[in-house]
């Protein structure tokens, strides 16, 4: 046996221990390269913001892209922008994902003989395209969304030069509204609706709070007009007309569950009553075509209600009626839109609530008629090159229109999508565009507004701006076409077209904004035809295809968070569903998750049902947006099943209907339903909308609020109004403990105790806050399979309760239930639920390793490194706001290049670790640094949490509970409406919820 002396032994022990320790290090650090030459504008650790414009919908909100060390990490609203004033909806924030799509095209591609896309150089791709265009220039056609002012000009210049044509295609265009504006006022343009200081808002299905004309703007205006702290009478009343309890309906004071398609008649009838009650008599001849009883019959709304609303319109100082949205855009959409405009005119709102403004630029508006004509041309072989940009027509044209079939007859299809979609599957040449955050561009969304789009990151891949692609094509064609192209590249062209303004300032502010003109216009129409539209097919039910609040026209389905964040109404994520009434479900013998077939004259669908009380018995509603076969997130590729469809595309079951002027109609079909006997469980996040009387989402009636204002009530449960009295025996929501001072729950010498307020009267459930939280805090997107197991990771979720709920004990069910809704009832409580940062937190004492503790400023800090994953804290949290990493989300949920957008200020959590909200503690730390530099304390407003910043209606407040002078403290200690969730448990939360105000039905 060889002798081992002490030294050898120690060496061996040392080496082996070292080896063990080295292999134990699981964090791989690769290629940390510091700046060799420090860029002037970048200080590592300090974010740089770039102002730009959101292109996820036509509203044109201003955005700030937050970049760190040259990489965009977050998209926020631009506080100086006249449209959104710093807020931004979920879709707008999710636009960052387009830059970091895992399946983005890395460069130009050309389809070879085997039908596979192979990478080529830009010169080769443009050369091939130029050859095809050169052979038959007049057979070239451009199809796509509005590409921006300068790009459109460049494109038009090319098209004119070679004799090609161009069609603007936007699935959710406002063609009906524009046609109606032209008809009623003789003005070509989209009216701008302004709800500022309104006292009655009637939404005829525009879905003004989620997919409407300018949702973020309207949300803010409405919330201000309804603020009960400013308006003791409750402020503006919101009336919603529509067949289902949508997001907007859930926030309304009165919901008229009208038959879809009857909006025009209803609007005219209301206008007629208003005129008869004394409003502008000159318009009487326009509304005389409809009687109240006729409208009552066609809309299935009681005549008394119509009369009451008509009188309310007559009484109102500022009444704004919003036109039908896509879901109720029927074959008579122009008539319906005109009727709504007439109602506005009768109410005297033209020029204040409704601004009739002419278009700023030519040929930017979508034309469905031209798109349908294009299909005929393609079928006739008149199109040899189709250049598709910025849109996905194969997905968004109805199957019955024959677009896809016609497209396959086109010899050369060019696509500029930056990632695969249904249309690129038909493309022979792919010339990928930059993502929105890599692009230059400009828009003229409305009068007095000129918006700039500027990049915030160098293009990640070998992509090229659409404008440069077009210029390149023009130059490759040679001759006069090449001469007609602008000098230099697209950016140079853009800068030239902005040469009349201070571009540097425009870049800093996101554009040039002037005051919105009043937009007064006289009514020139002589008659309004608002007859009820005909629907195709036989079936018993009306098929309502409605825009999904996250997917819009389907483009949002490509973004991970918009798929992951559940629909605010049904809490379904990653899937399609069909909403039917409880009675319909009984008739069909189906329960939630059972698959039904929906047959129309144009096609059929098989989809899981979501029976609910809040939908008409004669309606089946399916959201638009799912059913993609391509795309990493849109199809099932992210669940490891490439090419698998996710959900159903309801557009394929619609007839290609048009309205009176050739605009696109969505409300076109009758449907017959049948149970299939199959079941496909819906991935849902919410178990039940029955609150069981527990203190989780409270309401207060306007009268109780008024009496509380006189000091009759302190913070006792009596002021929760008559609604709660019915269930006073159910326990749970009584404030049986003495009110505590949340300010106590921090160490004595700390100047801060952080707290939050959530105003449930302002929250409409749009989920923008959830989106902000996901991106700010590096929350992983887990996918459909894990969502089915309810293992999503949101730190902030939306509880949606209907009414006070029933505490009597129903038999247990093994699947979620959601049937507390009633037709016409709008007592919906949207409750954002996140860590309450309890002063006496149940999660803390149970952790054996002190991985969670109250820090000196009263936050429930979470030490990810210390957590061993016993999960006791999550069991003991009554609010259930803790989320556990069941898998290694850190490694698996951030596919290349998504890791580039991780927020460097927030740890990415690994396998087996618990995580939760800590009030954006990284933002508090950033504010602390600034305050320290300036030798002061953190002031109110220095810290804005991500959710607070995103909220369009300013429902979320954040501040220091120890700062008794602050406006936040006043809100936090609101005696009239404030309550703490599950106060009975005495967890001493640092979050005050302000009860939703029940304003009651609109008074005549």
């Amino acid at each position: 046996m060889p002798q081992i002396d002490r030294r050898d032994f120690l060496k061996l022990v040392g080496t082996s221990a070292g080896a063990v320790a080295a292999t134990g290090c699981s964090d791989h650090v690769t290629n940390l390269i510091p700046y060799v030459v420090q860029p002037e504008e970048i200080t590592p650790g300090i974010p740089v913001y770039y102002a730009s414009t959101c292109q996820e919908c036509p509203a044109g909100c201003g955005i700030h892209v937050k970049t760190r060390e040259g990489k965009p990490i977050l998209v926020e609203g631009n506080p100086d922008h006249p449209v959104n004033r710093g807020a931004l909806c979920a879709r707008g924030q999710a636009t960052i994902g387009r830059t970091f799509q895992p399946d983005r095209f890395r460069g130009p591609q050309v389809r070879n003989e085997e039908g596979e896309l192979v990478p080529v150089t830009w010169d080769a791709a443009i050369g091939q395209l130029a050859k095809a265009v050169g052979e038959r220039p007049k057979g070239t056609h451009f199809l796509g969304s509005h590409p921006g002012e300068t790009a459109a000009k460049v494109m038009d210049r090319l098209a004119t030069s070679i004799g090609a044509s161009r069609t603007v295609f936007e699935p959710f265009s406002d063609e009906g509204l524009r046609a109606a504006t032209s008809e009623v006022f003789g003005v070509e343009g989209t009216p701008v609706f302004d709800l500022t200081d309104a006292d009655l808002v009637i939404d005829f299905g525009s879905e003004l709070l989620d997919t409407g004309l300018s949702a973020t703007e309207h949300k803010r205006q409405l919330a201000d007009a309804r603020d009960v702290e400013q308006h003791i009478d409750g402020g503006a009343r919101l009336v919603y007309v529509g067949s289902r309890l949508s997001l907007t309906a859930s926030s309304s004071d009165e919901w008229l569950p009208a038959k879809p398609g009857s909006e025009g008649q209803l609007a005219l009838a209301i206008a007629r009553v208003a005129i008869e009650s004394g409003n502008d008599q000159s318009l009487l001849n326009l509304v005389s075509g409809v009687s109240v009883s006729e409208a009552a019959q066609s809309s299935d709304i009681p005549a008394e209600t119509i009369e009451r609303l008509g009188r309310a319109v007559a009484r109102g100082k500022k009444v704004v009626a919003l036109p039908p949205g896509p879901a109720v855009t029927s074959r008579r959409a122009v008539g319906a839109n005109a009727a709504v405009l007439i109602l506005n005119a009768v109410a005297g709102s033209i020029g204040s609530g409704v601004r009739i403004l002419p278009d700023q630029s030519e040929s930017t508006k979508s034309s469905y008629k031209d798109a349908l004509a294009l299909i005929r041309q393609m079928n006739d072989g008149a199109v040899s090159v189709l250049f598709v940009h910025g849109s996905n027509p194969v997905f968004s044209m109805p199957e019955a229109s024959g677009f896809a079939e016609a497209l396959s007859k086109v010899p050369v299809v060019v696509c500029t999508s930056s990632s695969p979609d249904e249309t690129t599957a038909y493309a022979s040449i792919i010339l990928p565009d930059h993502s929105p955050l890599e692009s230059w561009g400009d828009l003229l969304p409305r009068a007095g507004m000129r918006s700039l789009i500027q990049p915030s990151i160098q293009p990640l891949y070998d992509t090229r701006a659409l404008g440069d692609t077009v210029i390149g094509l023009g130059r490759a064609l040679g001759g006069t076409t090449a001469d007609s192209m602008p000098e230099g590249d697209f950016r140079a062209a853009l800068e030239r077209s902005w040469s009349d303004v201070d571009l540097r300032r425009a870049k800093a502010e996101g554009g040039v904004f002037e005051k919105l003109p009043a937009g007064e216009a006289p009514v020139v129409a002589s008659a309004i035809d608002a007859t009820v539209p005909m629907l195709s097919g036989e079936g018993k039910y009306t098929l309502v295809a409605f825009p999904h609040s996250h997917f819009y026209d389907g483009r949002g389905a490509a973004l991970p968070w918009l798929q992951e964040i559940p629909d605010p109404i049904t809490s379904v994520a990653w899937q399609s569903w069909a909403e039917i009434s409880l009675k319909t479900a009984d008739d069909l013998g189906v329960e939630i998750g059972d698959v039904i077939s929906i047959e129309t004259s144009a096609g059929s669908l098989e989809v899981s049902v979501y029976p609910r009380g809040g939908i008409r018995d004669d309606v089946v509603a399916v959201p638009i947006g799912q059913g993609h076969t391509e795309g990493h997130w849109a199809s099932k590729a992210c669940d490891g099943m490439p090419g698998q469809v996710r959900g159903v595309n309801v557009i394929d079951a619609l007839s290609p209907g048009v309205d009176e002027k050739g605009g696109r109609a969505w409300l076109t079909d009758h449907a017959s339903l049948a149970a299939t006997g199959k079941t496909r469980r819906l991935p849902m996040l919410q178990w039940s909308d029955n609150k069981r009387g527990r203190q989780l989402g409270e309401v207060v009636s306007l009268s109780a609020l008024a009496s509380a204002a006189h000091g009759d009530h302190g913070e006792d449960h009596g002021d929760h109004g008559a609604k709660t009295d019915d269930h006073s025996s159910s326990g749970g929501h009584h404030e049986i403990h003495e009110p505590y001072d949340a300010g106590d729950d921090a160490v004595d010498d700390s100047p801060y105790r952080w707290g939050m307020t959530v105003d449930l009267d302002k929250c409409d459930g749009c989920s923008a806050c959830i989106q902000a939280c996901y991106v700010e805090n590096n929350i992983p997107v887990v996918g459909e399979v894990e969502t089915l197991r309810v293992r999503q990771m949101p730190w902030l979720r939306l509880n949606r309760f209907v009414g006070e709920g029933q505490a009597d004990l129903p038999l247990g069910r093994t699947h979620p239930q959601a049937n507390g809704e009633k037709l016409g009832d709008t007592d919906v409580r949207n409750v954002p639920m996140f860590c309450q940062q309890c002063g006496s937190a149940p999660c803390e004492p149970v952790c054996p390793v002190i991985a969670t503790y109250t820090n000196e400023e009263g936050l429930n800090a979470m030490v990810y490194n210390r957590c061993i994953g016993t999960r006791y804290c999550a069991n003991n949290c009554p609010y259930k706001v803790r989320r556990f990493n069941f898998y290694d989300n850190q490694l698996t949920k951030w596919p290349e290049p998504m890791h580039l957008m991780l927020n460097p200020d927030v740890t990415v959590r690994g396998q087996g670790v618990m995580e939760k909200c800590t009030f954006c503690v990284q933002r508090i730390q950033a504010a602390r640094q600034t305050a320290k530099d300036e030798d002061r304390l953190i002031a109110e407003g220095d810290v804005q949490t991500a959710c607070q910043r995103a909220c369009g209606s300013d429902a979320i407040g954040f501040g220091n509970v120890r700062d008794h002078e602050s406006a936040f403290y006043k809100k936090f200690t609101n005696k009239k409406r404030g309550y703490h969730a599950l106060h009975v448990l005495n967890t001493r939360p640092a979050v005050t919820y302000l009860s939703k105000v029940i304003r009651g039905k609109v008074e005549a």
């Binding site: 178990w687 039940s688 009387g693 004990l809 038999l811 093994t814 061993i868 994953g869 396998q911 599950l982």
Partner: protein
């Protein structure tokens, strides 16, 4: 019958069986060459154990997601099975320590088996602490060791108490088991050859059977009994506080400590019966483990069954009487909600079936006892399942209620825990006397002296 003379270690020749007493021969016969049936049992147990091991390795690699956990249900089959095995571990110490202190002589025939079971059950249970946590590679954080980072553990956490309770109990059980084993090891040593001789010689610590050694031995047993007795009550009390110290409706109850201790003794005795009945039958130990023993154990089971049933009733009464809606809902849904099957299995197996032991005939009819004991084992697993799962699935926020269904991976590891337990027990059968020879002899001598008096 005289005790065999203590043989010096130096004696090179083992005793031949003919020279030996009947008790020695009978009991040591269990340790003879294994039969095919034994190998099959051991093979099955080893297979289950390794299957669970493989699943566990995969789980460590991929994450706890392979379990059936969902958002509101963060604990599942692992914790259920952990509590189950801790409960099983109770009968051994109860029989050895408490019945020893009460001088209940009938314990002598069964205490060795029960003690072995206790040790193995505690070892099985302890593994679940590692299996359950999300980052088992960091589970040493739970130990209060001095470190440069200045980190300390949270002594307020019931999981911390649990760690200490289980480790203390495991230590005491092993020491108790080993001390009791020493005289028998000496007997085995004197008859063994080859590696067994070496093993027993080392483990017998030079036992000679001298009166000084016997005196020390009985002193040790007495003192250890005194130490172990409070542990019997404390361990499962502490385990119950894992739940009772929380605020989860259905967990947060003051009755939990006595309720869990009674349940533990109940399940422990059932498991002793489940294990000993086949052993007795296969190895022909009817002369040592008699109807008298079974009768006594069944009486214990009957008593604890009644206590447990009373606890069930109390839980429901308090849920109703308190008027707290959270509790009422939780308990209502426990009985009539999605988990009603588990609840009724629990009530029938633990509350109803054991009532047959009111009959003396049932208490002495071995097949009946075996069947009832099996039902109790099932019922007690479901009791923990009902408490943990229904409690978590119906908490404060109805928007995030949920349903937990154990996954195959979890069930595999649960099955593997039985494999692990059986493996240890089967090896124990062949390695050590399953009945405490010395104590049975003591009893035999005692009986002889007071023939007919008992």
């Amino acid at each position: 019958m005289t005790p065999p003379p203590a043989t010096p270690i130096a004696n090179p020749e083992p005793l031949s069986p003919e020279q030996d007493s009947k008790i020695n021969r009978d009991i040591l016969a269990v340790m003879s060459k294994p039969t095919l049936g034994y190998w099959m049992c051991l093979g099955t147990a080893l297979f289950l154990m390794h299957l669970a091991g493989a699943i566990w390795v995969y789980q460590v690699y991929i994450g706890l997601g392979i379990g059936g956990y969902t958002h509101p249900l963060f604990w599942g089959a692992y914790i259920v099975t952990f509590v189950f095995w801790v409960g099983i571990a109770h009968a051994g110490t109860l029989i050895s320590a408490i019945l020893y202190l009460f001088r209940a002589k009938w314990r002598n025939a069964i205490n060795r088996g029960a003690e072995a079971m206790t040790v193995f059950a505690v070892l099985t249970a302890a593994q679940f602490l590692g299996i359950h946590v999300g980052r088992m590679w960091k589970s040493y954080f739970i130990l209060p060791y001095p470190n440069q980072r200045g980190l300390w553990v949270n002594f307020k956490s019931p999981l911390m108490w649990d760690t200490f309770a289980i480790s203390t109990y495991a230590t005491i059980s092993i020491v108790f088991f080993y001390i009791g084993l020493i005289p028998d090891l000496a007997i085995a040593r004197d008859r063994a050859k080859g590696w067994r001789k070496f093993l027993y010689t080392a483990m017998a610590l030079g036992w000679q059977g001298t009166s000084i050694q016997w005196k020390s031995h009985s002193r040790s047993v007495l003192h250890l009994s005194g130490l172990a007795t409070p542990l019997v009550l404390s361990v499962h009390s502490v385990v119950s506080w894992d739940f009772a110290a929380s605020i989860v409706p259905g967990w947060h109850a003051t009755i939990f400590a006595p309720y869990f201790v009674a349940g533990a003794i109940f399940s422990g005795f059932a498991m002793v019966l489940t294990v000993l009945i086949p052993v007795r039958r296969i190895y022909g130990l009817e002369a040592y483990i008699t109807n008298y023993h079974f009768d006594n154990m069944c009486r214990f089971i009957l008593l604890t069954s009644i206590i447990v049933s009373y606890a069930y009733a109390t839980e429901y009464f308090i849920a109703w009487y308190s008027g707290v809606e959270f509790e009422k809902t939780s308990f209502y849904l426990r009985a009539f909600g999605p988990y009603w099957i588990s609840t009724w299995i629990m009530i029938i197996c633990n509350g109803v079936i054991p009532q047959v032991f009111w009959s003396k005939r049932a208490r002495t009819h071995i097949p009946t006892i075996f069947v009832v004991a099996t039902f109790i084992n099932i019922g007690m697993w479901f009791e923990r399942y009902v408490i943990i799962i229904t409690g978590l699935s119906r908490e404060y926020d109805p928007a995030v209620w949920g349903i937990y269904i154990p996954s195959f991976a979890e069930l595999g590891i649960v099955a593997g825990s039985f494999g692990f337990f059986c493996t240890l027990f089967l090896i124990f059968l062949k390695l050590f006397p399953v009945i405490a020879i010395a104590e049975v002899k003591e009893l035999a001598i005692h009986e002889k002296a007071h023939a007919g008096v008992r």
